[in-house]
């Protein structure tokens, strides 16, 4: 097995010629088409799954089982009138859909969707005599790239709301961007434990480190807590139910894209579902071994792809399941959950895992390390809850002061 110091795609190790460029372009185009098709299927899957849960039929007219419904909706949107509100900032109004869509496309490049991730595979595939990874690009800072792109997604939401020159979109977008920013911190901190286990930021290396059985999957290796935090924070980052306060229809009309119609709306919609697909793919890659799984007869990279798709489908189902079952949070509950529970917990858990690892390396007793760091964590939790109750007391006092009528006595 090649030791990939730089986590570089082996495709670039030999001279870069026309064939290599061709393979890269092929990968880019395939990823592009796959993303669009997967969004189409995801929208259909979500509608069908939800209607099953609610004892309805759902889309069933366009194509077999209504599978072409999204396609039909998309075509319809091309023929709808494109309105630009008169009070809007036209330049930013037109720019915002791009700012939503482009990061949504770009995040997917770090996801390895297949390759030989069997017992002793190295995650590569050989095409036309060239060894390469089944991912568009293996940036050595893959995880940071993911975080950077999801922080760019805030711009689309924020600017769309502001540029509309309308009340509800502005309220929705400020809420949404505060929410996305808050949960991004939790997202990043929960990932730190994964990096701790792998020692690399490259998504390919992280997937490769999880081969060889379920015990090596990061979800177990990091002790489930980072995965749970990531799943919650990821759902919030996507603005999906139960964290969809952004487009709480009952209070904000449609959230930041209220003023958008026709294709501009379609692009926001596309970006939203594309982000859902990508987030599931990233959860699978970082916590569930990506394409890792047993290989049987046939080419190993195809098995990798099969396992990846299977795991991806599970998480897409989980996101829809969330939407069907969980009621929406209130805004203060949302912020409390993110800042006062998820962020301190993920930071504490990261330090806990690090202490355990270092203790193991130095031959300390696991029990002692666990007790000492557990005590430290408990102390931190105690401090946190003391702070929360202190601020609560203070607010109750203030409220009592302002409530008591002035001339009552």
């Amino acid at each position: 097995m090649r030791t990939n110091v730089f986590a570089l795609d082996p495709l670039f190790l030999d001279d870069v010629g026309f064939e290599e460029v061709g393979i890269v372009l092929l990968k880019v185009v395939v990823a592009f088409v796959m993303l669009l098709v997967s969004v189409m299927l995801m929208v259909w899957f979500e509608r069908k799954f939800i209607s099953d849960m609610q004892n309805r039929i759902g889309p069933n007219v366009a194509g077999p089982f209504g599978i072409l419904q999204t396609f039909a909706d998309g075509i319809k949107l091309f023929f709808k009138e494109d309105l630009i509100p008169e009070r809007s900032d036209r330049f930013v109004f037109k720019l915002a859909p791009y700012l939503s869509l482009v990061p949504a496309f770009l995040v997917f490049v770090i996801v390895p969707i297949g390759g030989d991730f069997g017992e002793d595979g190295d995650g590569t595939v050989t095409w036309f005599g060239h060894e390469t990874f089944l991912q568009v690009a293996d940036a050595p800072v893959g995880v940071l790239f993911f975080l950077a792109m999801s922080s760019l997604a805030v711009y689309g939401v924020m600017l769309a709301g502001w540029s509309s020159g309308s009340k509800y979109p502005l309220l929705g977008s400020v809420r949404a961007s505060a929410q996305m920013v808050s949960y991004e911190a939790a997202l990043g901190l929960s990932l730190a434990a994964v990096i701790l286990k792998t020692g690399s930021l490259s998504s390919h290396d992280i997937a490769l480190a999880q081969t060889g059985g379920i015990v090596n999957w990061n979800v177990l290796a990091t002790g489930i807590v980072p995965f749970v935090i990531f799943l919650i924070a990821g759902t919030a980052e996507l603005n999906r139910p139960p964290f969809d306060l952004v487009e709480a229809e009952q209070e904000l009309v449609g959230g930041f894209h209220t003023e958008y119609s026709s294709l501009r709306f379609a692009l926001f919609f596309l970006a939203e579902f594309m982000n859902t697909v990508t987030m599931s793919a990233i959860i699978v890659t970082l916590f569930f071994g990506g394409p890792a799984g047993p290989t049987y007869a046939g080419p190993a990279w195809l098995w990798g792809m099969f396992w990846f798709m299977l795991k991806l489908l599970v998480f897409l189902g989980v996101f829809v399941w969330f939407r069907a079952t969980l009621p929406r949070l209130r805004y203060d509950q949302l912020m409390d959950l993110g800042w006062k529970i998820l962020i301190p917990l993920s930071l504490g858990w990261f330090l806990f895992v690090a202490a355990l690892e270092i203790g193991d390396n130095r031959g300390w007793s696991r029990v002692v390390v666990a007790i000492v760091s557990g005590a430290a964590l408990a102390l931190g939790a105690l401090l946190m809850s003391a702070a929360i109750s202190a601020s609560r007391r203070q607010r109750l006092d203030e409220q009592a002061e302002s409530d008591s009528p002035v001339g009552a006595r």
Binding site: L101, A137, D332
Partner: protein, 128 residues
């Protein structure tokens, strides 16, 4: 090095092209009959009387500020996590000092109610 980033650039260009071409297509296909009612801000049929609000609670600003702090913490934690095994106990202590300094000020912040949202539930006194 550069080679690793060119596919990302290519996909980005493709995404922009896709959006641009779709807009052109929509412009050609869609009707264009603007009226003043259509161009007004949408408020579920009510004629808008007030301008959009111009000021927001300072809390939102605060959230963005605290986010920067945690973002910077993430930026330092990630490289630490890639080499922490080589650093051993020394690295752990260095990181603990760093994390503690941020955590205790965060606790102080929470204790001062910087991250409280919305009104507290009114405690209705039980009167019979």
């Amino acid at each position: 090095m550069l080679g690793q980033y060119l596919p990302i650039l290519a996909l980005g260009v493709l995404a922009v092209l896709f959006a641009a071409v779709s807009f052109v297509a929509s412009k050609l296909l869609a009707p264009r009959r603007p009226t003043s009612a259509k161009a007004a801000p949408y408020e579920c049929g009510i004629v808008p009387t007030k301008e959009a609000p111009e000021r927001f609670p300072v809390r939102f600003f605060l959230v963005a500020m605290i986010f920067i702090v945690f973002d910077i913490e993430i930026i330092f934690i990630y490289p630490w996590a890639t080499i922490f095994e080589g650093l051993g106990l020394y690295g752990l202590v260095a990181m603990l000092i760093f994390a503690f300094a941020v955590f205790e000020s965060f606790v102080y912040l929470v204790g001062n109610g910087a991250l409280d949202w919305g009104p507290l539930k009114k405690q209705v006194p039980r009167t019979r």
